[in-house]
């Protein structure tokens, strides 16, 4: 095959990847609409859509759609996008396919922060009480990631050191959380356990807006670093030879990951699987050119989380399951299946 024919194939491949990213975006939007039309109040689809379009509907319907269902559905979309992007960047800069906010202690730290607020009643002063748990969770998970970066810098900041510290942080936070659970009253314990299972129920437009702002501020910088992140997939030495300041790349990516993961987890609790599986599924779809991998991860995460939100309402009729439970229970078998299928395809 001649050079120009090969280049044509390369361009065709990239167009196909662009189409795949667009498809994932459309599927994520469809998932949100399905998510919006399911719920315990049993609104007919036509009425939900009419309320969304601003048409004539009873006031109750309008409140259910605009104040209950829509913030939850949008939050699911944003949390999925944030966690999958955080996972994708983390896996690349830590050169480890298992890295994600959940495995490196961010979620455990957030849960510990929530526990401190719920069980000990210690939180940020002068905040409305409704925000106490969220604020604690945010500060603890951001603190965990900052600690991770500082300790990493002390020891040269290599990926192995960061991963070991992350795992140590995970276990430390989990141990302290167990201690809190042990001394908690029955009522506090229940609230804490439900929080750690991940839930979209406490979501308001305010929390949606905060996460939306964080995503809007971080995504452009992640996309601008696409080539550098792709270079890092060829090894640190090679990337540095290409002219990439790997230390700065790693530090900035982890800062983005910290903001995304801490904000998402503090709003909705512990959500496993999305940060790991979103990027992996995206990688199977579009490869590791990060110009495609990062957006594909964002939309795959959003799609998975929206689907999980819908399933959390449908799995047991009349019961709303915690969404973190759904992502783990349903997601992991799907993930295993994808890995095995990916192996066979090679």
């Amino acid at each position: 095959m001649s050079g120009s024919a090969l280049l044509d194939r390369y361009h065709r491949q990239n167009r196909r990847r662009t189409a795949l990213v667009a498809t994932m975006a459309v599927l994520a939007l469809i998932a949100v609409v399905i998510d919006l039309t399911t719920g315990p109040s049993g609104l007919p689809l036509s009425e939900t859509l009419r309320a969304l379009a601003g048409g004539e509907v009873p006031r109750g319907t309008s409140v259910i759609v605009w104040q209950v269902r829509l913030p939850v559905a949008v939050m699911a979309l944003l949390v999925g996008a944030a966690l999958a992007l955080a996972g994708a960047e983390m896996q690349t800069v830590l050169e480890n396919p298992l890295a994600e906010p959940f495995t490196l202690g961010v979620s455990a730290a957030a849960a510990l922060g929530a526990g401190v607020a719920i069980v000990l009643g210690v939180t940020v002063p002068f905040l409305p009480p409704a925000w106490g748990i969220t604020a604690n969770a945010f500060l603890f998970s951001l603190g965990a990631l900052t600690l991770l970066q500082l300790m990493g810098r002390l020891r040269g900041g290599g990926p192995e050191v960061l991963i070991l510290f992350g795992i140590a942080l995970n276990f430390t936070a989990a141990a302290f959380l167990s201690l809190l659970q042990f001394i908690a009253s029955a009522e506090d314990l229940q609230q804490l356990v439900i929080w750690t299972m991940g839930s979209l129920q406490a979501v308001t437009w305010g929390s949606v807006a905060i996460l939306a702002v964080v995503i809007t501020l971080t995504v452009p910088f992640a996309l601008m670093a696409s080539w550098k992140l792709t270079a890092l997939r060829l090894g640190e030495e090679q990337a540095r030879g290409f002219g990439v300041d790997v230390t700065a790349l790693r530090r900035r990516a982890l800062l983005r990951v910290s903001l995304l993961a801490a904000t998402a987890v503090s709003m909705v609790g512990v959500i496993g699987f999305i940060g790991l599986a979103g990027p992996h599924i995206a990688r199977m779809l579009v490869g590791e050119d990060h110009r495609f991998l990062l957006p594909a991860s964002i939309f795959t995460g959003a799609l998975l989380m929206s689907a999980a939100s819908t399933l959390s309402k449908l799995l047991i009729a009349g019961t709303l399951l915690p969404i973190g439970l759904v992502t783990s229970l349903i997601g992991l078998p799907v993930f295993f299946w994808l890995i095995l299928r990916g192996r066979q395809a090679r």
């Binding site: 280049l7 390369y10 997939r233 060829l234 030495e237 290409f242 002219g243 490869g287 590791e288 090679r346």
Partner: protein, 262 residues
């Protein structure tokens, strides 16, 4: 206009690998081989020049001190081919070469990066591998892809760390004759090679590193001698010329072991 290495010291932690090593100026158009026993500091010197290892002393290229240059500025002048390329990435060969061109953030203004990357693959005779995934390549093919990544920016200085270690005989010749052509374009080439016959055939000058310093430097025929091989490598060897006048190195045995056997 040349590469100069003056009193360079470097090491890992407390272990010093090179101590106050200086090299005579390396000139454009020439291929210089770094040779020496294992752990002599050959790769470490390449990494110091490439900006991948901290060092004290002075390394200048065309009169410009390389130490204060940022990674992107250095990458415009220097191409570095490491010993190995990881195989785990889901990227094809063409993508890796385009990445080598784009990663520093400097955009090529004259031609599209993919066209330039494809031309380099064509030049190295691996254009048919352009869309092959890295995980489908043999060790030798991966080495050729790595060379493509190193030369695609058209660097003034090309550093190659054992570029032929995984190549079969024909590909060794292809790679090294390509390296000679690259040098002939007015570039400086510094390469690590273990095979001294190969080094003698393809380089203009050879630098022998031993115990953290420069043991010998000069044209192959002056440097590769039985005395050097005995002193540096601890082997008894003959250095002869073949019917075409090329140097042949025949290793007869290990000196300490044969001495012990006596």
């Amino acid at each position: 206009m040349s590469l100069s290495v003056t009193r360079v010291s470097t090491g890992y932690g407390r272990r010093q690998v090179l101590s106050a090593l200086s090299l005579p100026a390396l000139n454009p158009g020439e291929v210089t081989t770094l040779a020496g026993p294992n752990a002599a500091g050959k790769s470490t010197l390449l990494k110091a020049i490439a900006g991948l290892a901290p060092f004290s002393g002075a390394i200048t290229l065309d009169g410009q001190d390389l130490a204060p240059l940022g990674p992107a500025a250095r990458a415009q002048k220097i191409g570095f081919m490491p010993q190995s390329l990881p195989s785990g990435a889901s990227l094809n060969v063409l993508e890796t070469v385009i990445t080598a061109l784009r990663a520093s953030g400097e955009r090529a203004v004259t031609e599209p990066p993919e066209t330039r990357a494809m031309a380099v693959l064509d030049r190295l005779g691996i254009d048919h591998l352009a869309l092959a995934g890295l995980d489908q390549l043999s060790g030798g093919q991966r080495q050729m892809a790595s060379l493509a990544q190193a030369i695609v920016r058209g660097p003034r200085l090309l550093l190659l760390d054992e570029p032929t270690s995984a190549l079969d005989l024909a590909r060794q010749v292809r790679l090294l004759s390509e390296v000679r052509r690259i040098a002939a374009e007015g570039r400086i080439v510094l390469t690590v090679l273990h095979d001294l016959a190969l080094a003698a055939r393809w380089s203009d000058r050879i630098a022998i590193l031993h115990r953290g310093g420069l043991f010998a430097f000069g044209p192959p025929a002056e440097v590769i001698t039985p005395a050097m091989l005995a002193e540096v490598y601890g082997v008894s060897a003959r250095v002869e010329r073949c019917s075409q006048g090329h140097l042949m190195v025949q290793i007869d045995g290990e000196l300490s072991r044969s001495a012990a056997g006596k």
